[in-house]
Each structure stands twice: as structure tokens, then as C-alpha cells.
Symmetry: C2
Subunit: 422 residues, 2 copies
Amino acid sequence: MKLLKVDTLEAALDKLEAAMRTGGAGEPETELVSVLQALDRIAAEDVLCSEDIPSFDRSTMDGYAVVARDTQGAGETMPTFLDLAGEVEMGKEPEFGLKSGQCAYAPTGGMLPQGADAVAMVEYCQPFGTDKVAVYSPLSPGHNMVHAGDDVRCGECLFQRGRRIRPSDMGLLCAAGKTEIKVYKPWKIYIISTGDEIVPPEAMPLPGQVRDVNSAGLLGEALSQGFDVAGLDVIWDSQDILTEKVRSAMKKCDVVVISGGSSQGKKDATEAVIDSLTSSGAFTHGLAVKPGKPTIIGFDEPTECVVIGLPGHPVAALLLFRLIVAGIWKRLTGSAETEKEIAVDAVMASNIAASPGRKTFQLVTLDYEHIGLETGLPQAVPVLGKSGLIRTMSAADGYIVMDVNDEGLCRGERVRVHLLMR
Amino acid sequence: MKLLKVDTLEAALDKLEAAMRTGGAGEPETELVSVLQALDRIAAEDVLCSEDIPSFDRSTMDGYAVVARDTQGAGETMPTFLDLAGEVEMGKEPEFGLKSGQCAYAPTGGMLPQGADAVAMVEYCQPFGTDKVAVYSPLSPGHNMVHAGDDVRCGECLFQRGRRIRPSDMGLLCAAGKTEIKVYKPWKIYIISTGDEIVPPEAMPLPGQVRDVNSAGLLGEALSQGFDVAGLDVIWDSQDILTEKVRSAMKKCDVVVISGGSSQGKKDATEAVIDSLTSSGAFTHGLAVKPGKPTIIGFDEPTECVVIGLPGHPVAALLLFRLIVAGIWKRLTGSAETEKEIAVDAVMASNIAASPGRKTFQLVTLDYEHIGLETGLPQAVPVLGKSGLIRTMSAADGYIVMDVNDEGLCRGERVRVHLLMR
């Protein structure tokens, strides 16, 4: 029996990152895209603001721009009377300034005249005739207005390289006058499923056959990470065919993933193919993770292509795709540093054993109907199921991680749940 | 001064839902799409499995299929010797069955022969010659194998109407032989920004002018919710132009959102346009939420179009788009019932006041560097900023909600943070 030489997940990512950086594939290529098309793309540089936002002092209410100290002592029974100096038009610079004792009508968003430092809401004001306004409320400077630069100051960083662009970021970029943004080009991924037992999803499997699950699942994972999928192939277990498919895919893609080959014989074929087609050879021959042990990784310098042999079990294949392909992408694009990993705290609903010597990923659902009385936290309910089942992952809300040295978790123990859904 | 007749958020959604259901726009249209294109789409019906997955008993290990009771008492020093009856080929039905005393080689994923009810891993077996195998480990029935139907049983529901399709769901659908799925057609959204002060993002604003933030922000929100955006328009504040734009957009879209018009005069124009162009008239003239009070809603039966006047302030516009447009979409597609709303528990990092009589949405960041000693939870740090600023939303990780009757939250108080990022 051939023993696998296994890496930890971190060691495997370190090796892969080093191989890619040395091989000239460290930072993904970049492109300029319109802000309107930037949703979920990854910023390829820090974005600095080159002006104050807003560029002028602005009213945040419909009301009267005033000199705040003029309103000291004003109240419901004792208004301050001010001279109406004019009216601010939306989108225009007022052609007058305010002196002490004066006010001017300013709509929400209007530019304040020189000298004004607060806005009295119309609700607290009463015009008298055409040239006087009574203000019934005292105001401190800055009230009901924003100053130039209050949103963003010139020179400030809007967000850092590695940022996944959100809707509000698109608005922020527009506010700063940026209509394009430099983002990373998504990697092109080629997905190959292997197995003599595999038939296409539209076929009715004969006894002994199963439908191809991994092509669609990996396609979904790749798309949800923002990658392009250049092709899908289902092939029988033949080292020759696999070699040809991988060789051809490597020419046009950044990452080739081969799923299947969990059994010893098949794994050897995948490993031999990766070994022979990559300049690095297969440098990871197995991972100390559960599920996902039979994972093989190599990198080819001439084609700048990563080739990964994923386990055949669907849950393991999908999880490892996230951990390896999305994991290395995040490292190389800077997202790993800038992105906050948001996880939900929960308590274990039952005991669960870890797999000795391996980092164990356990699928769980979150039970919000049995919130812990003392902790106030939802329960993490393990989704149990033997390897090879796909429904466990579909049914799970997320996963918990038990480290290499953990023996397991006890009922009631506190855990962090990494979310699987959007 | 005209007082707003305000609805609670729930009342507004109830009114809108009732108007849409009565007006024949209750459930969105559906379409069949390939499973390969179903990522993030919303299932329009319960999906039932019409067969057992897997359809046969399967090995989950490379090993020897056995009759489990034959191995009772087997151990490292005392193997059970079995007759090798054959070898299972991947993807094929074994042409032999197992009787007591027999075994057969079965690779991972291979179909078990009739009579086998467990698999001994190769690591615990030793072939002797060509026809005998020593098994060094006792096995209970079901060990290292999955039974037909273990993943999903015939007739079981794979997932319910309203499910947002995930990568693993795509795999699950393929496993069940479903190559297409009935999903809801995304709504077509038309986005109109109004304001005399607004210039396009590529322009350098003159004093008093600001760049259009809401078009890009709302486009992003719409796309991230899966909607189609049929058009974007920036227009000056003119009731005539607005009327024409909205009327024309209503003919080709499901939802028209108008942002801007936060100030009293502008709001009146938006309200008048919605009132005149919808068969229902504007039935919500303001919302008891902060931010987002100046929100106007109407529904037109003939065109089956929802018309919404959103606040001009970007944060309010983006938040209200989520709450109203995505909110009603989730109600009508069933996602509101089937989707688990995952939120992160945290403790307030500082006191924060609610807005009396209004449901208050407070943007926060999650601080994982100052985890509470007793609670073990991250801190929710309010992102403060006056209305009209966009950066607050871009900087936030999520928001907390204070109810109409809440006075506010104290430092250390426990809160649920609804996430803004993916």
C-alpha cells in the first residue's frame, strides 16, 4: 500500500503560492472596467480620492442657512429675527454671502452661502413678509449641514487592493469621479470530471453508473467565486485521454481541475498526469484535511497553469475547490488580507469527533429555533452523511473547522460557522 | 407644512403585496433554465426527486466487499479468510453475487454485488494467491458503503420553492437527473435619478453640483439581488420630464425606482407623478424608518408595474431598495419563507440612540479584534455620519435594527448584525 505524503492545507497553499510567484504567475492580470460593471470584481490597486466629497458645504435639510451664533438663545417663545438675503438654487453657487443677522433659504443638498455654518429646518422657521424670517430654535455650528470633505477627504483611500466591489462602492467611486476601476481579470478555469461510472446528468444510469455531479457543482463554485469557466469535460478513466485533455486545457486556462480519481488506482493516474505535464511536478500529494485527502497540486511555469486533482466525492471536491483555488486567488489578489472573514457564532448541538491528524471540516446547519438560554447563540447541528453524498452540502448552512490536534467538539461547545450560502 | 402620512415598513410591504396580488402581479413569471445556468436563481417550485440517489449500494472505499457477519471476531492476529468471488468494475453491475464466505474487490464508488453489506478497506486485507483474501478487521453491516437512496430517497424534496440555487444544489440537481429547473424570471428594473444638482460621474462638478451616486449604487443593488436593469436615467427636476420617463419605463419594466426628491418640493413632484401614473395612486407616502422616511410607493395594474420614489440620500436609497424591492420579491417568490436569514451576533461598542417612532437602521462595522471577554462576541461599532454621505455604507459590514419603540442601545448590549457584504 502506497502511503500518501500529505501536506497541511496551509503548507500546500504556501507551496503553491511560492511556485506561482517564482513562475511569474504571482499576481493575476488586471483590466480596466466601467464602474457600472464592477460589481463583485476585485480591486487591483488602492483607490485614492483626488478631491473632497462633497466639494462644498451642503445643507442636509430644507431650511434656512444661518450664522449659528445668531440663533443663540432662540426658542419657541423667543425667536431670532433674521434678514432674508436670498435663496439657494439647487446645483448652483449662491451669488451672495451671509453676514451676521442674515439667512437664506437652502433646500436639502443645496450649497451653503459663504458665511453660513448651520441650517434651521423649515419646521422651526416662520417667514415674516418677504424679507424677514423668525428662527425658533438655537443652532450650533455644523447643524443640519455637511462640510466639504465630510464624506471623503482628498487623498484618502476609498478602499484597498483586494476589495470585492459592493453596490455602495460603485456609488462611492462615482461620487469620486472614477468611472473606471482597475480590477483583476478572473481566472479561466477548466473542469474535468473523470470516472468510468459517470454518465451525463440527462442520462438514466444503468446499475453501477451514477450521474456526473461534480461538473455542475464545480461550475457553480467557480462562477460564484467570480471565475470564468472555459470548459467542462467528462471523460472515462484513461490516462492517455486525460493527458491530452489536460495538456490542451493548460494552454488556454489558468487553472485546470480534475475531479474523480479518489480510489487508489485512479488517483495514481491523475497524479502521473499532473506529474508529467507540470514543470514543478506534483508537489502536494495529499492534504491533511477531511474530507479532501486525495488532493494533488502542481504548477506549470511555461503555461503559467495550476493543475489540481480534486477528490471524486462531491462534497470534498466542492470544498477543496474553495479552499485551494479560491484560497490562492485571495492570497494573490490581496483579498485574503483586506477581506474580513465573517462567521456566525454558534454552540454545538451534539458531540462530534475530529479526524486525528487532519484538519476536519464538518458541515452544519444553523438552528435558530433552539437558541441557547445562556449564550443566546444558535445551535450548530452537524449534517451527518457518509462520504460521496452531495445532499449534505446542499443541506448545510456552513461548516466548522477542527484543527489537526483537536479530538472533537462537545455538545454545548462554542464554534464559529463559516457560511456556505451567499 | 405638509405632514407625511407614514407607514411602517411591514405595513408598506403588506399594502404593496396586496396590491400586486390583486392586480395579477402576485407571483413573478417563471422560466426553465439549464441547471448549468441556475446559480443564484430562485426555484419557482418544489423540486422532488423521482428516484433513489444513489440507485444502488456503493462502496465508499477501495477494498473488498464482504458479508459483514463473516468478519465477526476478525482482528490483527486472527484474520478471516474469504474466497475471492470476483472483481467489481467501475460503472458496471457485478455479474455475480456474494454468499457467506466470499468477497469481491470493489473500488471506491463501485457497485456492491448482491449479498454484500460491508467493505473491508484494502489496508486491512491481504490477498493470498489468486483466490483467497485475509480480512484483519471486524465489520458491521453498512461499513464503508452507502445504500441505495442514502443521499436522497425517491419522492423526497430536494429543495423548496424560493430556494436560491447554490453550487451544491446544481450538483444535487444533476445527481437527480434534472438538467433544467423552473426558476423565476428576474424583474426588470428601471432606475431614474433626479436632481438639478446632479452631474454624471465623469463630469467635474461646479460649485453646488454633485456627481450622480445613486444610479451606480442602485444598479449594483439590483444586480446583486439578481434583477435585470433595463435602463438608467439621470434627469433634472422637472415634473413633465419625470412623467414621460416613468410612463415609458413602466411599459417595459416590472419596477421603476426614482431616487432623489428628498426635499419637500421635489418629493411632492415625485409623489404627484406616482399618483398620476399608477392605478392605485401612491398608497405609501412615507415610511417610519430611519433613514428612508421620504419613500413613496404605488402600483399600476394595467402595466403590472411597481413605482417607487426612493430618498435622494444614497445610503437611504440603497437600503430602501433592499428593504422594499428585494423585500417584496422575496415575499412573492417564497424566498422570505424558505431562506434562513443569517446574521452575526455582536455587542454594541458604544451607546446609540434610536429615532423615536421610526424603525432605525444603524450601519455598523464588526470589530473582531476586541472580542468581548464574557460574551466571546465581536463588537458592533456604529458607523456615524450625517445623512447624504455614501462612504458610511461602503465602510459598514452590516446594519442593526432598532424597533419603533426602542429608545436606543447601550454599550455592551447584544445585537444582531445583518450583513451587507456577500
